[in-house]
Subunit: 148 residues, 2 copies
Amino acid sequence: MKNKYSDILKKLKLKITPKRIEILSILDRENYFKSPEEIWQLMKKRFKKIGLPTVYRNLEDLAEGGVIFRIIHPDRQLYYYFCNNKDHHHHFVCISCKRVSDVDYCPEKEVINYVSKRIKGKIISHIFQINGICNVCMNIESSLGGTK
Amino acid sequence: MKNKYSDILKKLKLKITPKRIEILSILDRENYFKSPEEIWQLMKKRFKKIGLPTVYRNLEDLAEGGVIFRIIHPDRQLYYYFCNNKDHHHHFVCISCKRVSDVDYCPEKEVINYVSKRIKGKIISHIFQINGICNVCMNIESSLGGTK
DNA sequence: TTGTCTGCAAATCATTTGCAATATT
DNA sequence: AATATTGCAAATGATTTGCAGACAA
């Protein structure tokens, strides 16, 4: 299990430090997106002296390496999410519980033509994120009773 | 022409102030996304004493009302864009010159099924933005000569 | 008039940076 | 040993807030 994260770091040419392993492990543990601050709090359980900048720097490096993903949030704050899905994909984000689900569909191919023909431009990247309510939260909601 | 903006503000139940008119006019003038700071600089030409918070507050209100759009940018900074397109649509953003072009295609319908069947969730909103190089910038680029 | 909008000054707060000490390879 | 990583303290900088005066309806 530890090897999984070591391999990831090795591929990114990042040194294998216990803190990086722990960050990946924390994010991999649950399908929720997390803020640097939250991750820092969890890290402090194991590393008494860890600094918040370390968390920020590592999250940034990992996201840059494409190993974790940034979640777009109105908070004007960064959130991160790890998933094992190696193929290009997108995310469904529950705005209630922060759970993330992979969406194995990418709209890029639908607009390549549009962009090249009509806009005569070249696509470099794209952002696609679906926000909503996950099934768990929908059930909670409905069990709270509520036509109103 | 002035009526266009007044009507917009009226619909949003916002008071019709010269500053709001000017913000809309500035954003409507060119197809570029702009930061609050940039807009503020432009505003100061007419309103000597205008404060930056006024710009922030109004941009936020207008975006909330769906009249202007937020552009997602790695700067961790807000940018705004105005377009006359009333139908639901998305944007192609030139990362070189900040020009925005409308994309009259929405991927939501492609994933409604996916989300309801496989994730069993409910979509509330979605974000789709295409980043690239516009035709103007591509031509500049290629005229700079460049196999390398 | 009445509630909204604005300017100003100050606060907030997530994120970043510099640098010396430490850990990884 | 050589280089990358980290902790700490301090800086940064976009955005927000409180409040009293000004303005739109």
